[in-house]
Symmetry: C2
Subunit: 106 residues, 2 copies
């Protein structure tokens, strides 16, 4: 298994998706993010680390607080891949149709 830390893997975890959703409204510190999740602050911090590493959030120190801010441009990678895959899939009969049209012509 190769070292992976990309956007696809980052959004695979439902907790991380909820964190992103929460941060999409505005910056929050780690304790605030942890609110309403039934897990420890340390677990949240680990998720934050992963999101930060793949560029979906940025951090800034503010006294003793670590403020996290969403930066969701990186999600384009995901949309791009999905769009491309669906495009290919929608055109999957093109070759067959071209062949059929060709034989019809003969």
């Amino acid at each position: 298994m190769i070292e992976r830390r990309d956007v696809f893997q980052a959004i695979a975890d439902p907790t991380r998706r909820m964190i992103i959703h929460k941060l999409s409204h505005g910056p929050l510190n780690i304790t605030q993010i942890g609110q309403d999740f039934g897990i420890s602050k340390q677990a949240i911090a680990k998720h934050i680390k992963i999101l930060n590493e793949c560029g979906l959030i940025t951090m800034s120190q503010k006294g003793r607080q670590q403020v996290c801010e969403a930066r969701l441009d990186g999600l384009d990678q995901v949309t791009d891949w999905v769009t491309e895959s669906r495009k290919l899939w929608n055109n999957r009969f093109e070759k067959l149709e071209a062949f059929l049209n060709n034989t019809k012509k003969q």
Copy 2:
């Protein structure tokens, strides 16, 4: 850790994304899919099982072959989530602007 087997987790793995890409051009059997990947056919079969379980591909028996066909409608979930998150994020200053406009009025 809760039992997860959703589309987000399915596309988190790069090998599975490549399988989807390959299948988006048309149906293939497991051996054909395994071509060009440096891993065993059994490993491919496991990935296929996961993709099948979350509805991204369907299977059909054809003699001794197991034919896999992409069914990429399920990827809408991903696009929807990304779109929603980015929308919220783009509007993240709305509340602040509303507040500023309000105070300006007074």
